[in-house]
């Protein structure tokens, strides 16, 4: 029971069970994303051809904003009753906690994407002209890119005044290359005009670099007095 994987699994199951019973994060995220989709659709009202050009950007900006809603709630529950302090004194590895939180957020944002993508297809009459299966690795790598840094920065921003506003301020600048890769890859696949290979590789490298550095530095951030 003391291995990294076992503790990660237990913490992840606990978070998923809590979310399944309360549905706090997922409901607020879904409704928020729905609002963004509707407002975008109103304000641009594009034709099918224009949609292909801009949909990549719209989808990922909507998911990014919605993900911040969930990410902000990541650690809020652990602050009550000093759960986070209990974690710090427990012998459980800090990275197990981080991985469980990041994986939990990955699940939440993936569910959001699975629900919202059909809506996007309906509102913007989308049909991919390129290899559509490539959207799956783009979505998975892109989601992990958002949640791994988001979970980490959420742990940092709970230590600041004005927590809720701090997370996007830290997350967005660092996420620029990942966001550019997601948007460009999605547009390339939808329009079928270019290959998305470079962007998928870039996303994979981004994920690798920031997963490593997060695991390396999380204990320091958790232990900060």
């Amino acid at each position: 029971m003391t291995s990294l994987a076992a503790i990660t699994g237990v913490t992840l199951r606990k978070d998923l069970r809590l979310e399944w019973r309360s549905k706090d994060a997922i409901n607020s995220m879904l409704f928020f994303a729905l609002l963004v989709v509707v407002i975008f659709s109103f304000s641009f009202n594009p034709t099918a051809e224009e949609s292909r050009q801009i949909a990549g950007g719209l989808i990922w900006v909507a998911f990014l904003f919605a993900a911040v809603v969930a990410l902000n709630q990541t650690w809020a529950r652990e602050l009550r009753n000093q759960v986070l302090d209990a974690y710090r004194v427990s012998p459980a590895p800090a990275n197990a906690l981080f991985l469980a939180k990041a994986l939990g957020n990955f699940v939440f944002v993936s569910v959001l994407e699975a629900v919202m993508t059909p809506l996007f297809i309906i509102f913007y009459t989308l049909r991919a002209l390129g290899p559509a299966w490539q959207l799956i690795p783009v979505a998975m790598l892109g989601t992990w890119a958002l949640v791994v840094n988001g979970t980490f920065f959420a742990a940092m921003s709970i230590r600041t005044r004005s927590r809720e506003i701090m997370l996007p301020l830290l997350l967005f600048p660092i996420s620029i290359p990942a966001l550019l890769a997601m948007v460009e890859a999605t547009s390339a696949i939808l329009t079928g005009e270019a290959s998305a290979k470079f962007w998928i590789v870039l996303l994979a490298v981004y994920d690798l670099v920031f997963t490593m550095v997060s695991l390396l530095l999380f204990e320091t951030v958790l232990g900060a007095e």
Binding site: P173, L217, E225
Partner: protein, 229 residues
């Protein structure tokens, strides 16, 4: 040591005015762009100085993470602050030059985008420092600095590919630089480096004094609780 600061300040002032003279009067006028090109002597040295300061910020942040040295933290703070100022100068002088020469204020060119993203990252860094509470600030800031520095190569590659896919309509600088222009550029860079160092130095002393005063006040408050007096 106390006298070193005013002497250095005087030297910097002299050097800056000499560099100003070189850039505005001595340097030859550019053939096609005319006098607008002279902004180049401020734009480029500011950019190099800003990038150097961000590099110093990264090194100081790693130094802080490994050895928890207060000095390293102050150096990281100061280099980020002064770096953001110089980066702002770059971002302001760039469009002023670009409008008459390129015909547009801004383009998503490689260097422009990279500079803007750097500016955003280090402004986020300063915001974090402002909003985090007391003793945790140095650690949080150092961690963010590491994330920011690792982000730079990724930003670079993403924009590099982004740009090669959609070539920009503007013509890059290219061509060779007149040796006199090189001379003026390097003197200006030296002047700007001295100026950046001077500002950082004074900011360093201020921050150090501020922390000493805070520490003293905290100690005093501990020793003489107000209720007992």
């Amino acid at each position: 040591m106390k006298k070193a600061f005013p002497i250095f300040a005087l030297l910097t002032a002299v050097l800056l005015s000499y560099a100003l003279y070189l850039a505005l009067v001595w340097a030859p006028t550019e053939q096609t762009m005319g006098d607008v090109q002279r902004i180049f002597y401020y734009h480029v040295p500011s950019a190099w100085t800003a990038f150097l300061l961000f590099l110093i910020n990264f090194v100081a942040s790693v130094w802080y993470l490994v050895w928890r040295s207060v000095k390293a933290d102050i150096i990281a703070l100061v280099s980020a602050e002064v770096g953001v100022v110089f980066c702002t100068v770059v971002l302001v002088t760039g469009p002023i030059w670009a409008r008459p020469v390129w015909g547009i204020w801004w383009t998503w060119d490689m260097r422009l985008t990279l500079t803007l993203v750097l500016w955003l990252i280090y402004v986020a860094y300063l915001v974090l420092r402002r909003f985090s509470s007391g003793t945790q600030t140095p650690l949080m800031a150092a961690v963010l600095a590491v994330f920011g520095a690792l982000d730079v190569p990724l930003v670079y590659f993403s924009i590099w590919y982004f740009r090669t896919q959609h070539p920009s309509p503007v013509i890059g600088k290219g061509g060779s630089l007149d040796p006199r222009m090189w001379h003026v550029l390097l003197i200006n860079w030296l002047a700007f480096l001295c100026f950046a160092f001077l500002v950082s130095w004074s900011r360093y002393r201020l921050e150090k004094t501020k922390r000493e005063v805070e520490e003293m006040l905290a100690l005093e408050a501990l020793l003489e609780p107000k209720g007992l007096r």
